[in-house]
């Protein structure tokens, strides 16, 4: 039960014990369950898929069926200590708005994103001339739920533009090992994904 995805483990490390957490796109609730049992977190979730929601609620987790892009606006400001979005930003129609809302309703937001600037992705496109398919981006172009790809650098630029501070970052490789604790050109090339702890400027 307590074995969770690498990026989720990194996310969990950023969460203070006894805090209030909203996990957006919580899937089967693995992270919420982990946080509840290891950090005594008061956790909530939003999940689009009914299967995921049923699994979560049947396991005693507080999860609602809903769409982050329409439902996050309901929550009041600072309703949570952390709002988490794991590997889902790239599937949002309006990732910029979602990030903004996360940082409004959470004192902190934690986001993990796949890196389109990862060297394997770059070389696939360069050498084969076709859209890259990797473990973390495992879909053909015509079937992917991911519609807004970004590189880690793109992500950092966006946070600057919308007034969000990156308090911490962890860039990880294919095996889930942290290769860098901060974003850099080097990390943007070698990292397969990044995990970021965010807060709005001035908060």
């Amino acid at each position: 039960m307590l074995d969770i995805r690498d990026d989720l483990k990194l996310i969990a490390e950023m969460v203070e014990p006894n805090s209030r957490v909203l996990d957006v796109g919580c899937g089967d609730g693995a992270l919420l369950d982990y946080l509840a049992h290891t950090k005594n977190v008061d956790g909530r979730g939003i999940e689009l898929s009914m299967d995921g929601v049923r699994q979560c609620v049947a396991h005693g987790l507080s999860v609602i069926q809903g769409d982050a892009e329409t439902d996050l606006k309901d929550y009041p400001a600072d309703a949570f200590d952390y709002v988490i979005l794991g590997q889902t930003l790239q599937a949002m129609r309006q990732p910029r708005d979602v990030l903004g809302m996360m940082c409004r309703i959470g004192r902190r937001a934690i986001v993990s994103v796949p890196n389109f600037g990862y060297w394997r992705v770059r070389t696939q496109l360069l050498l084969t001339g076709r859209m890259p398919v990797t473990e973390k981006l495992g879909y053909q172009w015509w079937e992917t739920p991911n519609i807004h790809f970004c590189t880690l650098r793109d992500f950092v630029v966006l946070t600057e533009e919308i007034g969000i501070t990156i308090e911490q970052s962890r860039i990880i490789d294919r095996a889930g090992r942290v290769i860098s604790r901060a974003h850099s050109g080097f990390a943007n090339l070698l990292g397969e994904q990044g995990v970021f702890l965010l807060k709005r400027d001035g908060s």
Binding site: M50, R54, G60, S62, D74
Partner: protein, 409 residues
């Protein structure tokens, strides 16, 4: 037609000093007279005292009285949740969900269900004898609301010595009562499970209820509500009301699967108005069975209670405010469930409640169950729904510090 005096005034439900009410002899279960010392004020402003509430309990209350689950029944339901119904002989209406080892586990929880105020199976309602006149109340019974029903339930819970319910759970009208419990008594409810319900009765729902009421009132045997006194029974009207309502409880898919356009006991249509189609015969049966167990005036009163329900209106027009008692987020943990083919209380109604709960950052779970069985699905075999209820209660029990399941056998 006015069912109650327009100006607030004391309503003379004086407690019968001793001895059971007229319908007591036939009904099993427990009953209690409430508000005897101090009358209870209804939403209409009328005060009633010494009314009777019939109820059933299952399981055992634990030492610190923290394991009580209150079940709220639907419009035409009653307090016979688990056992054989004393009138129809059918199994209890929630036998699939409630019992030893079931999602609402009576080995573990103390379950209470009461017949609503205004009902006709043991709780004081329009068919009971007004001690002041010695005649049935009929339409002189005061109009009751969902709030009044819940007020009476609260008195019952206090009578049982329970300060805080572990959970309040119910579907349809029962779901409205669950919401009302959570809003009126947030400190007395740990968890709330409103199922297939809404924060207000929609115009369409009121319209259907009005059809039912008009069917009853159009029956010449109704006699202006005085049928008990005059020795008649508005069975035709009540049966039609039930038939119309029953359609709203199903879905087109469920009706089609069950009956399609199949003919009843015949090879071809008769070019007449017999029940040629199976669906007609089925509805006639539903109507006929209903009049056996339900009182027509009670039906008028209880449908009215649902029509009047509007949680947002009671909170100054904002549903979110209803869940922010005293400016603070409700402490109640919610789990809402809806059914995809329910067009009487569609998922959008549940979602509106979820959005209001999100707006105050309340603790809420919400599941829409995929099914073609319509509104009635909450009474039927829906394993995923039952799983959700079980999981939610387990999770809450953990938070409430209720000991883990121990089967005592």
């Amino acid at each position: 037609m006015s069912a109650s005096p327009t100006a607030p005034q004391p309503f003379p439900i004086t407690p019968a000093p001793d001895g059971p009410a007229p319908n007591d002899q036939v009904m099993p279960g427990q009953r209690v007279r409430l508000a005897v010392e101090r009358p209870m004020r209804l939403d209409s402003g009328i005060e009633i005292g010494g009314f009777q509430i019939a109820y059933q309990t299952y399981g055992r209350l634990n030492a610190d009285k923290s394991n009580a689950i209150f079940i709220c029944h639907a419009l035409t339901g009653d307090h016979f949740v688990v056992e054989k119904h004393p009138v129809t002989g059918k199994p209890g209406w929630w036998e699939m969900l409630v019992g030893p080892g079931k999602p609402v586990d009576t080995d573990r929880y103390f379950v209470i269900c009461s017949n609503v105020l205004g009902g006709c199976l043991g709780s004081t309602g329009p068919k009971d004898i007004d001690p002041a006149t010695g005649q049935p109340y009929g339409l002189s019974f005061p109009v009751v609301t969902i709030g009044d029903m819940v007020r009476a339930q609260k008195l019952l819970v206090e009578h049982l010595g329970i300060e805080k319910l572990f959970c309040v759970i119910g579907g349809s009208m029962g779901g409205m009562q669950v919401l009302q419990w959570a809003v009126a008594y947030p400190e007395s409810v740990f968890a709330a499970v409103p199922i297939a319900t809404a924060a207000r009765h929609s115009a369409q729902n009121i319209a259907f209820h009005e059809v039912g009421r008009q069917a009853i009132m159009a029956d010449p045997e109704w006699r202006g509500g005085n049928y008990l006194l005059e020795g008649t029974r508005p069975e035709a009207g009540l049966a039609v009301a039930r038939m119309a309502a029953h359609i709203t409880y199903l879905s087109e898919a469920a009706l089609h699967r069950k009956f399609g356009r199949n003919l009843q006991d015949r090879k071809s249509i008769t070019y007449g108005f017999d029940a040629d189609f199976q669906v007609e015969s089925y509805l006639r049966y539903q109507g006929a069975a209903f009049v056996e167990r339900f009182d027509a005036n009670s039906y008028l009163y209880i449908t009215r209670a649902m029509d009047y329900f509007d949680l947002a209106a009671d909170a100054g027009g904002s549903l979110a405010n209803a869940f922010r008692p005293g400016g603070k987020t409700t402490p109640v943990r919610f789990c809402l469930a809806s059914f995809s083919s329910d067009w009487l209380f569609p998922t959008s109604e549940s979602r509106a409640i979820v959005h209001a709960l999100n707006a105050v950052a309340a603790n809420v779970s919400f599941v829409e169950i995929e099914t073609d069985k319509g509104h009635d699905a909450f009474l039927l075999d829906e394993p995923e729904f039952h799983q959700v209820i079980h999981g939610f209660l387990e999770g809450c029990a953990e938070h409430r510090g209720l000991s883990v399941r121990r089967r005592a056998r």
